[in-house]
Amino acid sequence: MNAGHGVTIEHVTFGYGTTAVLDDISLDVAQAEFFAFLGPSGSGKTTLLRLIAGFGTPASGRILIGERDVTSLPPWERNVGMVFQNYALWPHMTVAKNIAFGLERRKLSRAEITKKVSDVLALVDLSAFADRRPAQLSGGQQQRVALARTLVIEPEVLLLDEPLSNLDAKLRVEMRSELRRLQRKLGITAIYVTHDQEEANAVADRVAVLDQGRIQQIGAPLELYDRPANRFVAAFLGTTNLIEGTIDGDGTFVASDFRLKGINGAPGPAALSIRPQDMTLAAPGSGIIAKVAEYEFLGSHTRYRVQLSGHALVIDIPHRHGTPPHPAGTVLGVLIDPNQVSVLR
């Protein structure tokens, strides 16, 4: 199979009537990279993926695959493979016919088609199912047929539109590592659309977070989590405590009664993002004094809601065998490491 090409999106804007769906989107997907578009519903992530496939034309901007400008090409001339959210398998054709369809369009010989179909069926471990119809397969099998049908044409880019959302939780986790493995093996460029941050973190090399038609941040999963660029990214990727306040001249963050020294940031209004697991509890003498409002025992950790200098914070403490939780009303100290907080503007 070929190595594929990168994808370049330059200042793409798109809308229906007066509603803007995508606003000045620019990004680069490197060759053989596994890239994810992450965002809530209505963020424009699926629309952007469909523009790459040719379903819709941007109002302005360009889309390039490798060096080729495909902005105005119809879908059938693009050679990008798309796996649809509902799989879109044709119910009147067998599995083998579904997979052969794209090869027939490429005018391959009978023998070549037969060989490629059986190769790709072996790749997705469905050789025994060639003559079944889609309705006779389970959800996971249908998903793999959809993938095989796309991979068999050796697309330059593989587009995946929430491909796992119709599977149950256990299968979803299996399939995502399966997808990751296949992508590595084939060395193909892949773009994956999802609203599930855990899924994006698990499969993607890099993630673009979208909200309201704009790119909020692009980066590796760990980078996005630890150094979110704004409040939206901080809150969308996992749970966080956001405190609005100001940084004064000597590096102290102030929000009414709450003060935290040693913040690395220019003076001015700012917000702190502190992850629940980045704080620890101590005896009342040390740290900032706080009072437990309530707690939830969640197995691997206990989630406390505490009142701290007029702010309600969520703190996760790992649970160890045999340790009892602190009941509501307990007064204790909270330790916050200024190096483990993110400063947002």
Partner: protein, 577 residues
């Protein structure tokens, strides 16, 4: 690079790109629109125009004053309203209990009710009317028996009663089908949550079940009203002329197509049909609920007790007997030597079928030719329009769809008058014959009148086809045309075939427009032949034989459509082993 940029800007400027449509799709929409304008809009507008003009061609209301001043026409108007309303009432008396038994209870005879829902539709009411006279008429089987044993008669078929009886027996399935679909679509959770909140019995019915089922009932009732209002052949065959449709027909055929009164009656009929449709749409605005949740079943069913079961069975058997009586009657009549003033025919013969084979085969081949062509036109136009409406954003597509659907509310008689008036002066190239009386005009009239059926079937078929199935094909390198041929058309086959058969079968028994447009006997279709035969006592036998043939043709077509639909469903859900 510069060329590419130019191409991009050109593409963005073009109409096609702006509305997500190719030039071929634009041409297709224009073609459908042109067909509808030429053969539906212009003829109807022409009828309206004539109704509002006097002899010199200036606009006037004098024709409507004449209508109101004529006692006979006022009576005809009220009779038409009365017959249509009473038919809805009588049909409801039959259909509502059946729908309730079917959807609310466990009942072993459910298949029987399903059959009941189809049997009447395969026989045109004007065929049934003659048989009903023989069975329920003043000197029909039932009244002869009643008179002999009990000494009295029941005027089932006297005057307007006869029309109401025949029409109700023919059209009650529209209410049955719509109402039971509506009942079956109520999620059991709707009822259960009301019960959970402490509601039961009549309150539960009044507050939850009735409001949710109402849309189906009203839709069915409105359809029955409109159909009865514009039925021409049934009153004519029962010798009832004081209704609007027969009056318009008599004016046009006896006085000529220049008499304005026929047009005035036409306009009033159109207004009443549209009024009934608009009223039902108004009553249902914002009330068309779909409550069925994923995985949810229909309403909870209860078990009937022994008494309930007995009552239900008796009711269904009684309805079945009455509903089947025209079919039995026409069958008997087609084999009867003489059947007059007797409970049963005097003797049996095959002679009528012999007569049919000797004289009437052209009628049958004409019907197959005309209705086959009309069905074909409908499927092609319906599929094109459905695709454009659902898959493009072309401006005006919804308007064209609405115009096509409005044919449902256009009385066939009015369309016939309009076509006759509009195309009488258009002469054919070689023969010089008026286009209006050329046999192909029948095909066009059928195609226009039945287009709503094919359009509905095609739309339903396409709606079930997720757009991603087409996008997947394009993504894998198939152009629009290949996608149509390999994906869309194969997956719509069932729906399109169902549309074809419905158009074909209903066109085969059309008589309102047919009566106006047939001018040469050799060009006449089956329905016309039956009508003419039934006019004379001697022609009744062969007429009945033709009627039986028509019923068989329609029944076979309906059965085939049903089988195809079932096969399709099986293909999609289970696959074929």
């Amino acid at each position: 690079m510069a060329d590419a940029a130019l191409a991009v800007s050109l593409r963005r400027l073009s109409l096609a790109a702006r509305f997500g449509a190719s030039p071929a799709q634009i041409a297709a929409l224009a073609f459908v629109a042109l067909f509808l304008v030429a053969f539906l809009v212009v003829p109807i507008v022409r009828v309206i125009f004539v109704a509002f003009t006097d002899r010199d061609g200036s606009l006037t209301l004098v024709n409507f004053q004449d209508f109101l001043a004529t006692g006979l026409l006022r009576e005809a108007f009220w009779n038409s309203i009365y017959v249509a309303a009473m038919t809805v009432a009588l049909a409801s008396l039959i259909a509502v209990p059946l729908a309730t038994i079917l959807t609310r209870f466990h009942f072993r005879g459910a298949a029987l009710i399903h059959t009941l829902g189809v049997i009447p539709l395969v026989m045109p009411p004007f065929v049934g009317a003659v048989a009903m006279q023989l069975i329920y008429g003043r000197n029909g089987s039932i009244n002869l028996l009643l008179n002999e044993w009990l000494g009295f008669r029941i005027p089932f078929m006297e005057g307007l009663n006869g029309v109401i009886f025949v029409e109700a027996l023919h059209y009650f399935p529209f209410i049955l089908l719509n109402l039971s679909a509506s009942l079956a679509n109520i999620d059991s959770a709707m009822e259960e949550s009301a019960q959970n909140l402490g509601t039961h019995g009549f309150t539960l019915f009044r507050r939850i079940v009735f409001p949710l089922a109402l849309p189906g009932y009203v839709a069915g009732a409105a359809l029955v009203f409109v159909k009865v209002f514009d039925d021409l052949a049934t009153p004519l065959l029962l010798n009832v002329t004081t209704m609007l449709a027969p009056q318009a027909y008599l004016k046009i055929t006896s006085v000529g197509i220049t008499d304005p009164m026929g047009y005035v009656i036409s306009v009033i009929m159109v207004l009443c049909s549209l009024g009934a449709m608009a009223l039902s749409a108004l009553a249902l605005r914002g009330r068309d609920f779909a409550t069925l949740q994923r995985g949810g079943g229909g309403l909870g069913r209860r078990t009937l007790g022994r008494t309930g079961n007995t009552i239900a069975t008796i009711f269904i058997v009684l309805v079945l007997l009455i509903v089947l009586s025209p079919h039995i009657g026409i069958l008997l009549l087609s084999f009867a030597t003489v059947w007059s003033f007797a409970v049963l025919p005097d003797g049996f013969t095959l002679a009528h079928y012999g007569t049919v084979v000797r004289d009437s085969l052209p009628l049958i081949s004409n019907t197959i030719l005309y209705c086959g062509l009309a069905g074909l036109i409908d499927v092609v136009l319906g599929a094109m329009l459905a695709y454009i409406v659902l898959r493009t954003r072309l401006p005006g597509r919804r308007l064209v769809e609405q115009v096509a659907m409005s044919a449902v509310a256009m009385p066939g008689l009015v369309l016939g008058i309009g076509l006759l008036r509009t195309y009488y002066d258009v002469k054919l190239p070689f023969s010089g014959e008026p286009f209006a009386t050329f046999w192909f005009m029948l095909v066009i009239a059928y195609a226009v009148r039945r287009l709503p059926y094919a359009l509905t079937a095609a739309t339903a078929a396409l709606q079930q086809l997720h757009v991603s199935l087409e996008e997947a094909a394009e993504n894998l390198g198939a152009r629009k045309f290949t996608t149509l041929g390999r994906i869309v058309v194969p997956l719509m086959t069932g729906g399109l075939l169902a549309g074809f058969v419905t158009s074909f079968a209903t066109a085969a028994v059309e008589l309102s427009a047919t009566l106006l447009l047939v001018t040469h006997a050799p060009d006449a279709p089956l329905s016309y032949g039956i009508y003419v035969s039934m006019q004379s006592a001697a022609g009744r036998g062969p007429g009945a034989a033709l009627g039986v043939i028509a019923v068989v043709v329609v029944a076979i077509a309906t059965y085939l459509a049903y089988r195809v639909a079932e096969h399709e469903r099986g293909l999609k859900s289970r696959g074929v082993f």
